[in-house]
Amino acid sequence: SQTIHQWPATLVQPVGSPLSLECTVEGTSNPNLYWYRQAAGRGLQLLFYSVGIGQISSEVPQNLSASRPQDRQFILSSKKLLLSDSGFYLCAWSGGTRTNSPLHFGNGTRLTVT
């Protein structure tokens, strides 16, 4: 069966420090991968998605970037964190070849920028 791992679960970082959140998927190949952010008590905002290795699409301009160095690995990064980067980050995958495939989410990372 397919599983998705996301780490760390919780992170507290000072303003101006770098960020690296990692997500890996097991049990499937060539998945579509996504990074979402959820502000407190709010909906999910799509940040980035990837349909293949090295292919990254950005949904909103911001202080963050994403990379997909391997088929089942998705990384969210920042060179210098801002206070506004605080939030709950969720990685997700879907089966790219099946149009009705839902998103399957990781457990999320709670990021606090101080």
Binding site: N32, Y34, Q38, G41, R42, G43, L44, Q45, L46, Y49, V51, S57, E59, F88, L90, A92, S94, G95, G96, T99, N100, S101, P102, L103, H104, F105, N107, G108, R110
Partner: protein, 119 residues
């Protein structure tokens, strides 16, 4: 661009009763998919139910069912025999049914409805 609107920020229901959560969406596409996700306090996103727009029959999953009104662009979730474990935030989501390079699979989410279940 597609949008999803959940007009009820909070709802409450008595245990064992039935509750309906509302969702409307805006799209010019004729083929798409709709989903309801549940997010309990653990913040894990759990798929509750899905609906294909080309299907007229409303989807059901045990105590969960939807009322899909394509012309009205409405997709409500009905929870029957509510249980304490149903307390969570519920999100409605839209996905285009694209093919090939347009099949990105990304979901557009509403703002969510927090459901409280009273014992």
């Amino acid at each position: 661009a597609q949008t999803v609107t959940q007009s009820q920020p909070e709802m409450s229901v008595q245990e064992a009763e039935t509750v309906t959560l509302s969702c409307t969406y805006d799209t010019s596409e004729s083929d798409y998919y709709l989903f309801w996700y549940k997010q309990p306090p653990s913040r894990q996103m759990i798929l509750v139910i899905r609906q294909e727009a080309y299907k007229q029959q409303n989807a059901t999953e045990n105590r969960f069912s939807v009322n899909f009104q394509k012309a009205a662009k409405s997709f409500s979730l009905k929870i029957s025999d509510s249980q304490l474990g149903d307390a969570a935030m519920y999100f409605c989501a839209y996905r285009s049914a694209g093919f090939g390079s347009s099949n990105t699979g990304k979901l557009i989410f509403g703002q969510g409805t927090t459901l409280q279940v009273k014992p």
